[in-house]
């Protein structure tokens, strides 16, 4: 592999890792406050991509369509929490998990019934897909824009978590719900904010995915969601920084495995999980994770 190809793959890896990272943040934040692996999260990403797609089809420009996709995903995220998860706050966690799997099947099948299972071509605006070259490297502009936007979003999320009272409450909630309520804080409202943030970022990740691949289908959330979940666990579930690190690690690994060993290309998805198992063997809480149960009662 010469330097040009290496750099090219590096950028591709960053771009793919960004999508995993954006989706992983939602997994990790919801897990933090509810101790729930939200299996429907990958499908929320699909919903965001579909709504953006339909908005564009009706003639709305890409940027506005993206906002509609984000808002729609956020609303679906809030609704799943209010309708499906909230009644189960006191129930055993396994009930919550099974409900999440149910929501996931529901969204996948609903979109299949409504819009068919054939992939739809996603026509990204030209300024994202235009190819530019640096020396011998040829790349679509999107591979630069996607990681840049992702890091910007990460900065905003960290700012919310560490500088605003709502963010502090999200962090406090990860350790102790009862005591958060004793502060006069409406815990359900804080959980809703988590769903808004997580679902919005998933929608952005979904649209980035649609721009890069460039097609969408009702089941697109399954494998991407699973890998983003792996990224969240790899980075340390509950840690937003960890989710991003995990996302980038998976993105780079996947791209480089395919680049270096093309004959292993078909196994690229397996590598994500092989990597996950390897890290968990040595550090069960993930790269940046803390033991969340410490201090929780």
């Amino acid at each position: 592999m010469n330097l040009d190809i290496f750099l090219q793959q590096l950028v591709n890896g960053a771009s793919l890792g960004s999508m995993y990272a954006l989706i992983a943040i939602g997994y990790t934040m919801v897990y933090g406050v509810l101790r729930l692996i939200n299996f429907a999260h990958g499908d929320i990403m699909m919903v965001g991509a579909f709504l953006t797609f339909f908005a564009m089809q009706s003639g709305i420009p890409f940027e506005a369509a993206l906002i509609i996709g984000i808002a729609g995903a956020a609303i679906i995220g809030i609704l799943t929490d209010k309708i499906a998860y909230k009644p189960l706050r006191e129930a055993p966690k396994i009930s919550l998990l099974i409900t999440a799997i149910g929501i996931s099947f529901f969204l996948e099948n609903l979109f299949t019934v409504l819009f068919g299972s054939t992939p739809k071509a996603f026509k990204a605006p030209e300024y994202l897909t235009k190819i530019f070259h640096l020396g011998n490297i040829y790349l679509p502009i999107s591979v630069i824009i996607i990681p840049t936007v992702t890091l910007l979003i990460l900065a905003i999320v960290l700012w919310i978590l560490y500088k605003t009272k709502y963010g502090m409450a999200i962090r406090a909630l990860a350790f102790d719900i009862q005591t958060v309520k004793l502060m006069g804080i409406d815990a359900d409202k804080i959980i809703m904010i988590v769903f808004i943030i997580g679902s919005s970022l998933a929608a952005i990740g979904g649209v980035f995915y649609a721009v890069s691949y460039p097609s969408i289908d009702p089941l697109m959330g399954i494998i991407v969601g699973l890998k983003a979940f792996a990224a969240a666990v790899l980075g340390g579930i509950g840690s937003v920084g960890g989710a991003v690190v995990g996302g980038f690690i998976l993105g780079f690994t996947e791209i480089f495995v395919v680049a270096m060993f093309p004959e292993l290309g078909g196994y690229k998805d397996a590598f994500a999980f092989f990597f996950l198992i390897l890290v968990l063997l040595f550090k069960p809480t993930g790269i940046m994770g803390q033991d969340l149960e410490r201090g929780r009662f």
């Binding site: 502090m168 102790d176 309520k181 201090g295």
Partner: protein, 230 residues
């Protein structure tokens, strides 16, 4: 200020609190003493609706029996929970910020008051709550509760696991608070509690076995034998 009537808490088949009445008047410290497992924590948690209960709770003339926990706190009744429950992953200042969640405009003045009352906390503003000593955590827990500008304070075993010197420091602060807000103090450390309280209730197996002015309880033979070590 606080009137509790026929309060009952059951955990499945376990009857933790069996229909008790309590009364806390403005300007007083009332203590609820009893052995481990008597139902003291369940009583406080039931008052703020953290556990399922039956019975009525009237706070400052308003029926809060069915109110959500966070609304009760917003209403001015604050609980410093057993074991302090500091947010160990948040800094001292962030813990106070959480206490003032519904008091944005007053945060700085309230915080300065808390630092004045607990100068030790001021030196550790940016330290994670989990790194504080037990005594400092208790002070932070009380300070955090005061950040909501409560009209009444309930404390669940503030002396738990603290050295005697720290206990007297904490109890001194509780006594100082009395002039501003009434206090319901739950304690296993009956002697220390009765010394600063105006009135006391003795909880035994979920029922009130005795209640009287604190100085009378201090002199009561049965109380002396059971809770004051003779």
């Amino acid at each position: 200020m606080l009137k509790v009537n026929d309060l009952t808490v059951n955990y499945g088949v376990i009857a933790a609190v069996r229909g008790i009445d309590l009364n806390v008047k403005a300007g007083t410290i009332v203590t609820l003493i009893g052995a481990n497992g008597a139902g003291k924590t369940s009583t406080l948690n039931a008052i703020v609706n953290s556990v399922k209960k039956s019975g009525s709770v009237i706070f400052d003339g308003i029926d809060i029996s069915k109110m959500a926990t966070h609304k009760i706190v917003k209403h001015g009744l604050s609980l410093v929970p057993e074991g302090r429950k500091i947010f160990i992953n948040l800094t001292v200042e962030e813990n106070l910020r959480m206490g003032a969640f519904n008091n944005d405009e007053d945060f700085e003045s309230l915080r300065n008051l808390v630092y004045e009352k607990f100068p030790r906390l001021k030196q550790k503003i940016n330290q994670a709550g989990g790194t504080l000593s037990g005594g400092e955590q208790q002070m932070l827990a009380i300070g955090r509760a005061l950040m909501s500008k409560p009209r009444m304070l309930m404390l669940d075993e503030p002396s738990l696991g603290l050295a005697p010197k720290i206990i007297s420091e904490v109890f001194e602060i509780i006594t100082e608070l009395k002039s501003d807000i009434p206090i319901l103090l739950v304690e296993q450390n009956a002697f220390a509690a009765l010394k600063i309280a105006d009135y006391g209730y003795v909880l035994e197996n979920g029922s009130i076995s005795l209640h009287d002015a604190a100085k009378n309880l201090l002199g009561n033979d049965e109380v002396r034998a059971k809770y004051l070590g003779g």
